[in-house]
Amino acid sequence: MLRDVSLQVPAGSTLAVLGRNGAGKSTLLRILATLLRPHAGEVLVFGEALPRRGFAVRGRLGLLAHDPLLYRDLSARENLSYHARLHAVGLGRVEELLHAVGMSGRADEPVRLLSRGLVQRLAVCRAVLHAPSLLLLDEPLANLDPAATELVGPLIGREAGATRVLTSHDPQAALAEADLVLGLEDGRAAFLTSPDKVDPGAVKRLYA
Amino acid sequence: MSRLVIAVAPALPLHSAGKYVAGAYIVFLAMVLIYVAIMATRLSRTEREIAQLQRDVDAQRSARDADREREPVA
């Protein structure tokens, strides 16, 4: 449920979405990812109107959701190879990414045997496999320890160079990364400003 | 008429044939009537809802009028 939310994210910048569970963060991401169709209102991604022009947008965005979107019975390598084929990406990219997140050694184990942290690393690989220019990141650092956070940094951090929309349980971390902050409360925009102008009290109220 | 029918219907005893034919047409009639009954209950529900809406709108309006009357006093 989203209402009266209207904003623009310039290319290359980062929008942080704050709010409690159920405030509409994931809904916003799923709408941007063309997975949910908005009942009303206007959504433009790369200047293409959704949901009508969804096919023009798919393949240029990467979604990292709560659900890792990986098959539990397939190995890490098999999962990524499947997605690489769907996105018409060479299999060399799969090895490159597995190496980048330090999983080359465990790439042949079925995903169901991997720890939450390793699954999250894999999900990051899946989301950036096709080098998307828009990254939709729902709690990207969940289950990741500091070392792993550093590993995925170049893939989904500001260094990646993509436009990013991210949500986080930790408002301070999100504020540090963002160019623009959207506070959501029950599907409505509570505030929308730059990080240095955010009222700490307003953030606290969001999570109260 | 029915006597005439008996005269020309050789094989089947009319009393049983008539029963079945009547049964079939009664099924048809009953269906239509049941439908009318269902629509009647729905119509009365709609009527009730319109009456309720009328009451609610009246209540809202009288509340607003009461507010307006109090204003100069306040």
Binding site: A33, T34, L35, L36, R37, P51, F55, R58, G59, L61, L63, A65, D67, P68, L69, L70, Y71, R72, D73, L74, E78, Y82, H83, R85, L86, H87, P110, R126 | -
Partner: protein, 223 residues
């Protein structure tokens, strides 16, 4: 087409790893033959009765596979992952129907000889080519309609119930075609070619539903 192959490869790999569906279908079919032996109290059967037992067993075994066809996609995010990719959505229909068809073929490769061994009176080998034609055409109908029904049912709350109650009536004409086509083959000294009328009806049914599924499948994937 390449996308369909990719998805098909993934589905077969998943089945190979999990072995969740196919063994259950095969076991179900064989147990059902044993049940028919006791239920009918007959050691051997032939003709239309045999064809009926065989095709009904295959139909119900297929229902098991149909119920599970999209479960992994729904529970493990496969739908979302597929929808995020810049690919033609019909590829999923083609891949899933092909996977189901292959499952049915493997099922029949084991269940039909088992049927010949356990229940069927007349010998199977002289009529095998004709039987293969009838079963293959029936499998196409089962695969196409099964995929469509499964895609509808998987998004409902009572998916284990909705699948069969929609699927069975839709598959009835295909069952009639398979049973009546196979019936004349399963008697002693049968001619080896199945009745042309039934082959034609099955083929027509396959064709119409393949086109129909292709036309409506996209609508089942949105959001």
């Amino acid at each position: 087409m390449r996308t369909a192959l990719t998805v098909l490869r993934k589905d077969l790999l998943l089945e190979l790893r999990g072995l969740e569906t196919l063994p259950a279908m095969i076991l179900f079919a064989i147990v059902t033959f044993v049940i028919f032996h006791f239920g009918l109290n007959r050691d051997t059967i032939d003709g239309q009765l045999a064809a009926g037992v065989l095709t009904v067993t295959l139909l119900f075994a297929a229902m098991l596979g149909i119920n599970r066809l999209f479960v992994a996609e729904r529970e493990q995010g496969g739908f979302d992952a597929f929808l995020l990719a810049p690919v033609d959505r019909s590829a999923l229909l083609i891949a899933k129907a092909t996977a189901l068809f292959l499952f049915l073929v493997v099922l029949e490769v084991i269940a039909v000889p088992a049927f010949g061994l356990l229940l069927l009176g007349p010998s199977l080998s002289p009529v095998l080519p004709g039987l293969i034609v009838v079963l293959a055409l029936g499998d196409v109908a089962l695969a196409v309609i099964g995929t469509l029904v499964s895609a509808i049912a998987v998004q409902t709350r009572a998916r284990d119930l909705i699948g069969p109650i929609i699927g069975l009536p839709l598959l009835l004409p295909a069952l009639i075609g398979m049973a009546r086509g196979a019936g004349p083959l399963l008697v002693a000294h049968a001619s080896s070619s199945p009745p042309g009328r039934w082959v034609a009806i099955l083929a027509l049914y396959d064709l119409v539903f393949a086109l129909l599924s292709y036309a409506v499948f996209d609508f089942l994937l949105e959001d």
